[in-house]
C-alpha cells in the first residue's frame, strides 16, 4: 500500500510500563477521513482507549498527533494535538500546541505517538528513528516544564525536542498542561494524564522526511499563503496579540469579571495591550514555521517574563478582580512554571473567591482583587496544599465538595472552566460553549466569530445563531485536524475549497471542499460518539445556572438575558441540524466503516 503524501502511515504506541512498542498501521481511509491532529486523535482514542477507562488510569492512552501539513513550508503548520480522556471532564479532550516538537515528532516516522501504561519511576520517554528509550527523570522531576525541556536537551543533545509537564502535572492537578517551547497544550488536564504515567518529558528527534505529492505546488502555495499572512486579517495578532481583545470586549460588555458577576471591568485599561505593549513589552516571537508571530512577551516590574494572551490575562485579571498588571503577569508566569491551564486556574480561583464572599468557604485571605492571594492560591494548587488541594480538582468537583448551591456559579461546562466570553452577550457562543464535546471551550466551537461580526443580534440567540455556530464548529474541526493556526483563518476567502486544494497538493488526493465539509461533520460526530460511549448525557450540554437567571446591561441600556427556554431551543435546533435526536444521540447509526466502532 502506498502511503499518501504528507503522511507516515503509522502510529507508534509505547507502553511505558515496560517500554514495549507497537506500530499501528493507519489505513488511508482513516487518514483521509480524519486528516490528523484533533480528528485523527479522536479516531485513535476511540480505537485504543478501553471503554470507561478512568482518565488517570495507566491504561488510558494519551496521543501526540501530527498532521499531513507538518513539515511542509506552509505557514503555521508546525502544530500538534495532544488527545486523551480529560481528568476534568471525563470526556474527550484535545489540545493543540505548536513548534519544533511537531516537526521532529513527525520526522521520527510516525503520524502519532501514543503513550499508555505507567512507568515504574519518573521517566523521560525518548523517541527517534533508532527506537524508544525510557530514561530516568529524577533530575527533571520537580522542575518547571521549561526547565525540564532545557535539561533534557542539555543532557541528550540540542536536536531533541521535548514536551514536558510541570509540578502540577506530577501532582495530578486536573488542569495541568503539557508544554513545549513556551507553548502549551493547555486545556483539559493532559499534563495530569502524562504525570499519571510517571512521564516528565516526551522527547523526539527525527530526520525522516515525508514525501509530498506535488512539491512544487506546495512551495508555490506556501509562498502565496505566507504573503497573505502579512495582510490586515492577521495584523491584530502580529502587532498586539490576542490581548487586544480585552478593552474591546470590555466596551461591548463581554469581558467576564469577578467570576461572571459582571461583563465589564472598570480597571480594564490597566491590563490593556494598548498600554502594556508600551510599558511592559520586551520581546516578540513566533512558533516554528509561522509568519504571523503572535507571541508577545511582557515583563513585570519585578522582571518576571510571561507570554501574554487574552485568555490568561482575562482569567487571572478581571475574572479574579485583579487589576495590577504586574501581579497578573506574575500569576501568568507562575502558571507556566507550575504547568497550569490559566483559564481553569483563574476560573476555579474566581469561583472560590465568590464562595468566600458569600461565606461558603472559610478562606478569609482569598478575596477578589487581591493579587497576592491569587499568587498564593496558584502556589497551593501547584503543591496541592491547603485550599489548593481542593481547587486542584477544578470548579465542578470543588463545588460538589463545598455544596450550598455553589455549583450554580461554578464557571464550567462538562467540568471545563469557561473562557473569556460572556455567554449572555454572545449567544452564538453560548450555544458553542454548551454543546461542545470538550466542554466550555472557545477554540473548538469558534462561535464567537458569529457574535463578533455584523448581522446577528448577539444578545438574542435564534436558529440563525445556531447555524452560524455550526459553521464555525465545522471550520474549526478541519483547521484543528489539518492543522492550521486559527489566527490564519481570516486570510481564507473560501476556506474549505482552499484547504482542499492545499491538501491535494500535499497528499495527492482528489479532495474538494465538499469532501472536507463532510470530513468536518464526521470529526464533530466522532467526538460526540466517543463521549456517548464514555457516559455523556444530554444534561451535559447546558450552561451554569448563573447565566440563565441573571441579566446584564449593555452600554446602550439594553438588557441581555439568556432564558433557559431560549438555550433549550438553540440546543434542540443544533441537534436537529446535526442529525441528532432530542437526546443528542445520532438518529441514524453510521455505516461508514471509519466510524462504525464508535457508533
Amino acid at each position: 500500500m502506498r502511503t499518501p503524501g504528507g503522511y507516515c502511515g503509522q502510529a507508534l504506541v509505547v507502553d511505558v510500563s515496560d517500554g514495549s512498542t507497537t506500530v499501528l498501521p493507519l489505513p488511508e481511509d482513516v487518514l483521509r477521513g480524519y486528516l490528523g491532529g484533533a480528528g485523527l486523535g479522536t479516531w485513535l482514542l476511540t480505537e485504543l482507549a478501553p471503554a470507561g477507562v478512568a482518565p488517570l488510569d495507566p491504561a488510558a492512552p494519551l496521543a501526540f498527533v501530527f498532521s499531513p501539513l507538518v513539515g511542509t513550508p506552509l505557514t503555521t503548520s508546525a502544530k500538534f494535538a495532544v488527545v486523551a480522556k480529560s481528568p476534568l471532564t471525563g470526556l474527550l479532550n484535545d489540545a493543540l500546541s505548536s513548534s519544533h516538537f511537531a516537526i521532529s515528532g513527525k520526522f521520527t516516522g510516525h503520524d502519532a505517538i501514543v503513550v499508555t501504561g505507567r512507568a515504574q519511576a519518573p521517566a523521560n520517554l525518548l523517541i527517534d528513528e533508532e527506537g524508544v528509550r525510557l530514561v530516568d527523570a529524577a533530575a527533571q522531576w520537580g522542575m518547571s516544564a521549561a526547565e525540564a525541556e532545557e535539561s533534557v536537551r542539555e543532557q541528550y543533545g540540542r536536536k531533541w525536542r521535548a514536551a514536558s509537564i510541570g509540578p502540577a502535572g506530577e501532582r495530578a492537578v486536573r488542569y495541568a498542561t503539557i508544554s513545549h517551547d513556551g507553548r502549551h497544550a493547555g486545556r483539559g488536564g493532559l499534563g495530569a494524564v502524562l504525570g499519571a504515567k510517571n512521564i516528565k518529558c516526551v522527547a523526539v528527534r527525527g530526520g525522516k522526511r515525508v514525501e509530498l505529492a506535488d512539491r512544487e505546488a506546495v512551495l508555490a502555495a506556501a509562498k502565496d499563503l505566507r504573503n497573505r499572512s502579512f495582510g490586515p486579517a492577521t495584523e491584530k495578532y502580529r502587532e498586539l496579540g490576542t490581548l487586544s481583545n480585552l478593552l474591546a470586549f470590555n466596551a461591548i460588555s463581554t469581558l467576564p469579571t469577578r467570576n461572571f458577576q459582571s461583563a465589564t471591568f472598570a480597571d480594564a485599561p490597566n491590563l490593556s495591550a494598548e498600554d502594556l505593549a508600551q510599558s511592559r513589552s520586551v520581546a516578540r516571537s513566533s512558533c516554528a514555521s509561522c509568519s504571523i508571530g503572535c507571541e508577545h512577551i511582557y515583563a513585570s516590574k519585578g522582571g518576571t517574563k510571561a507570554r501574554v494572551e487574552y485568555e490568561n490575562v482575562f482569567a487571572l485579571g478581571p475574572m479574579c478582580g485583579v487589576s495590577d498588571p504586574d501581579q497578573v503577569l506574575e500569576a501568568s508566569a507562575r502558571c507556566d512554571e507550575l504547568g497550569l491551564d490559566t483559564i481553569s486556574a483563574g476560573g476555579t480561583i474566581a469561583w472560590a473567591m465568590e464562595c468566600v464572599d458569600r461565606g461558603l468557604l472559610d478562606v478569609p485571605w482569598l478575596r477578589f482583587g487581591d493579587g497576592a492571594a491569587l499568587l498564593r492560591a496558584l502556589d497551593e494548587i501547584g503543591a496541592r496544599t491547603g485550599v489548593g488541594d481542593m481547587l486542584a480538582e477544578g470548579s465542578r468537583r470543588a463545588s460538589e465538595i463545598v455544596g450550598q448551591g455553589s455549583g450554580a456559579f461554578a464557571p464550567h461546562v462538562k467540568g471545563l472552566e469557561m473562557p473569556g466570553y460572556e455567554p449572555r452577550t454572545m449567544q452564538s457562543m453560548a450555544l458553542g460553549l454548551a454543546v461542545n464535546a470538550r466542554g466550555a471551550d472557545h477554540n473548538r466551537s469558534g462561535a464567537y466569530e458569529a457574535d463578533l461580526k455584523a448581522g446577528l443580534d448577539r444578545v438574542h440567540g435564534t436558529a440563525e445563531h445556531v447555524r452560524a455556530a455550526i459553521q464555525t464548529e465545522d471550520r474549526a474541526a478541519v483547521m484543528d485536524s489539518l492543522i492550521f493556526c486559527k489566527f490564519l483563518r481570516g486570510v481564507f476567502t473560501e476556506p474549505f475549497e482552499e484547504w482542499a486544494l492545499l491538501l491535494s497538493h500535499v497528499t495527492g488526493w482528489d479532495v474538494d471542499g465538499e469532501e472536507l465539509r463532510e470530513t468536518a461533520r464526521r470529526i464533530v460526530m466522532a467526538k460526540r460518539a466517543y463521549n456517548l460511549r464514555e457516559g455523556w448525557t444530554a444534561s451535559d450540554d447546558w450552561l451554569p445556572e448563573r447565566f440563565l437567571d441573571g441579566s446584564l446591561s449593555l452600554g446602550s441600556g439594553r438588557t441581555a438575558t439568556l432564558p433557559p427556554e431560549r438555550l433549550r431551543m438553540m440546543i434542540d435546533t443544533y441537534y436537529a441540524e446535526r442529525g441528532l435526536g432530542r437526546d443528542g444521540r445520532p438518529l441514524v447509526m453510521s455505516t461508514d466503516s471509519r466510524t462504525e466502532s464508535r457508533t
Binding site: 491584530k236 487586544s244 481583545n245 474591546a248 466569530e449 463578533l452 438574542h460
Partner: protein
C-alpha cells in the same frame, strides 16, 4: 423544526415611505442625507432602537432607494388613501414578529433612538399614571400637536385599521377614538434624562415637507459623537484615547479618525450590536467603538 426569529415580546419598526411628496417636488425617501438617503437614515435609526424587524411600506410600484438588506419591504395594495393604509399593511406584517411597533414617516431626519425607545416604553404598564394595562397606542403630543406618524401601535390593531379603511374612515383620529391611547407630552418625554440630554428640543418629530425645510435640516451640523479605537486601530498612527467628532454615519466617523471602514474593521455603537454597515446612522450622544473584525482568539 422551525423557530421564529423574533420573540413575541419584541417591538418592530414600520416606516411609511409612500406619499406623494408633492410639496417637496421630489420623492422624500430618496433625498440625500449625508451620503445616504433619508429613508435609509430613518430605517437605520428605527432599526437601532427596536429588537424586531424593520418594515418599509411603499406605494404600489414605488421605487425605493437602496436599503439595508435586513429591512423588509411591503407594498400598499392601494394608493392615495393616506397613512392609515400604510399603517394597516405595516402593522399586519409586523404582527408576525412583534406585539408592538414604532411607526413613523420617512421625513423625520432628526429622529433619535432615545425618542423611539421612550415611545415604546409607553407600552409598559404604569399604574401610577393610570395605565395598569398596556395601551393600544402610545401617541406623542409634542409642541401642542399629536404625532401619529412617530408613534407606537399594538400590532394587533391591524384588523381594526383595516375595518376603518373599509368604512372610509381614513384618519388616524378615527382609530384613536376606538382604542386606548396613552399620550405623552413634552414634559413626559423630557423626564427621560437620556432623551433630555440628546434631544432637548424633541426635534425627533420635526419633519421636512418643502425644499426649504429639507435644506435647513440638511444644513445643520452632523451629530456630535464620541469615537473609541481599540487594539491596533488605537496604536497605529497615534489614535489612542477617545475623540469627539461630528459624523452622520459609521463610514463618515471612521474616515474622520483615519480608518477605512472595510471588512477588516467593525464597530459597536454604545456597546451594543456589532456593525459593519458604513451607512448606519449615528446620533447625538453616540459612542462608537472601532475594533478589528477578527476579534476572537
Amino acid at each position: 423544526m422551525t423557530y421564529t426569529v423574533y420573540s413575541m415580546n419584541s417591538s418592530a419598526g414600520v416606516v411609511l415611505a409612500g406619499g406623494r411628496s408633492s410639496r417637496m417636488g421630489a420623492p422624500k425617501a430618496a433625498l440625500n442625507w449625508h451620503g445616504s438617503t433619508l429613508l435609509r437614515h430613518v430605517t437605520g435609526v428605527v432599526g437601532r432602537a427596536v429588537d424586531g424587524p424593520v418594515i418599509v411600506v411603499r406605494a404600489p410600484d414605488q421605487v425605493l432607494p437602496e436599503l439595508d438588506p435586513a429591512v423588509a419591504v411591503q407594498e400598499d395594495p392601494e394608493e392615495g388613501r393616506g397613512p392609515m393604509q400604510g399603517l394597516a399593511v405595516g402593522l399586519s406584517a409586523a404582527a408576525e414578529h412583534a406585539e408592538t411597533a414604532f411607526v413613523c414617516s420617512t421625513d423625520l431626519p432628526f429622529l433619535h433612538t432615545a425618542f423611539v425607545r421612550a415611545v415604546l416604553r409607553g407600552f409598559q404598564p404604569d399604574p401610577a399614571s393610570g395605565w395598569a394595562n398596556p395601551p393600544d397606542v402610545v401617541l406623542p403630543f409634542v409642541g401642542g400637536f399629536r404625532q401619529p406618524m412617530a408613534a407606537g401601535y399594538r400590532t394587533d390593531l391591524a384588523g381594526r385599521v383595516t375595518k376603518l379603511l373599509e368604512e372610509q374612515r381614513l384618519r388616524p383620529a378615527h382609530l384613536f377614538e376606538e382604542c386606548a391611547v396613552r399620550q405623552i407630552d413634552d414634559a413626559g418625554f423630557l423626564a427621560d434624562p437620556r432623551l433630555a440630554e440628546v434631544d432637548p428640543g424633541l426635534d425627533a418629530v420635526v419633519n421636512v415637507n418643502t425644499p426649504e425645510e429639507y435644506s435647513a435640516a440638511h444644513g445643520r451640523p452632523a451629530p456630535e459623537i464620541t469615537v473609541e479605537r481599540y487594539g491596533v486601530l488605537a496604536t497605529r498612527g497615534g489614535g489612542r484615547g477617545t475623540v469627539r467628532i461630528r459624523a452622520a454615519n459609521l463610514a463618515d466617523a471612521a474616515r474622520q479618525v483615519g480608518l477605512a471602514f472595510d471588512g477588516h474593521i467593525v464597530a459597536a455603537v454604545n456597546g451594543d450590536q456589532i456593525r459593519g454597515d458604513g451607512k448606519l446612522p449615528l446620533l447625538a450622544g453616540d459612542t462608537v467603538s472601532f475594533f478589528s473584525a477578527d476579534a476572537g482568539g
